[in-house]
Symmetry: C2
Subunit: 161 residues, 2 copies
DNA sequence: CTATATATTTCAGCTCGCTTAACTATTTAA
DNA sequence: TTAAATAGTTAAGCGAGCTGAAATATATAG
């Protein structure tokens, strides 16, 4: 076990602070919008990857296709998603966000991150510039990292032996 | 509505990337440990503020004291918390983590942030140093911000008029 | 002392999200 | 063409988590 890297420790502090804030805002919005965390997760995934099949979404969320189907049914009833037949393979369903679904999702994200404006206002121009550079590096590296892990997901994340 | 501040945009990107990663790891651990998000949230809050009353915890979580009481009962049964009478006011219960509760919480946090080691490994010494400085500033400002908001919470967050 | 306020628990009843199992429809392989 | 695989839905049943209302115990105000 490695000793505490000050870099990692700082990163942990920041993630703890930012996640607590973001989650708090987000849960507040989710509650008043009548949507659950799971439902937002589904909307988010559908938005991110474009169209998705029922089973794929279930795998992403870590649930059975039956559970995914039931959740999607609720989202259809709320007019947040559209579920249509894939013309190339009529067994699969194409799932996309409706206009309303996109709006709800966007508003949730905005609610989650609204405090960032206040944070920005409390920083000087130079501080902001320096932080922007640092975070840009982080985002880039983390994105590459993500792809690396995705390749190994069979081994380490989804199904350990 | 302000135009997109590149600082805020970068911050949003980073939070999206880091939250998606952290939440994914965390949900994975939560699932295999048999605890729900809400339960972890409760453990986290109890850990953060030391001891807490039932109603206080419910208010923090945004639920009635009845709901909080029921959740705490489940946590007691799992031996994650201790619930005892407050000697100064025997109506209220003191709620603290057990050793097991602390361990489970710490492991959850570790699972959530395990990917940071990989991220650290992908950065040079200079990059890490620069990012550490930037994040230290962010953490400090965000913490101050938090207190500022706490003072206004009656107005803007907990109970809007 | 009595009335009221506060802290917590219990209960009935509800929704959500989950599972397994059974079923339908469609595609693909032999 | 028939058999097997795949995608999705449906149904029954479970536990978590929530609410409102009622009950209990304690503290505090008059």
């Amino acid at each position: 076990m490695p000793l505490a890297d000050p870099f990692v420790a700082t990163l942990q502090s920041w993630i703890e602070v930012s996640m607590r804030r973001s989650m708090r805002n987000f849960l507040h919005y989710a509650r008043e919008s009548g949507l659950s965390m799971s439902q937002f997760g589904a909307l988010f995934h559908i938005h991110r990857i474009g169209s998705s099949g029922v089973t794929d979404l279930g795998e992403y969320l870590g649930v059975t296709s039956a559970a995914a189907s039931q959740m999607l049914e609720r989202l259809v009833q709320q007019e947040l998603i559209l579920r249509s037949e894939d013309p190339h393979d009529r067994r699969v369903k194409q799932i996309v966000l409706t206009e309303k679904g996109s709006q709800v999702l966007a508003e949730g994200i905005r609610a989650r991150q609204g405090w960032l404006d206040d944070l920005a206002a409390s920083l000087s121009f130079d501080e902001k510039q320096q932080i922007t550079m640092a975070l840009t590096t982080l985002v880039e590296k983390a994105t590459h990292l993500k792809q690396a892990v995705k390749q190994n997901s069979n081994l380490f994340i989804e199904e350990h032996p």
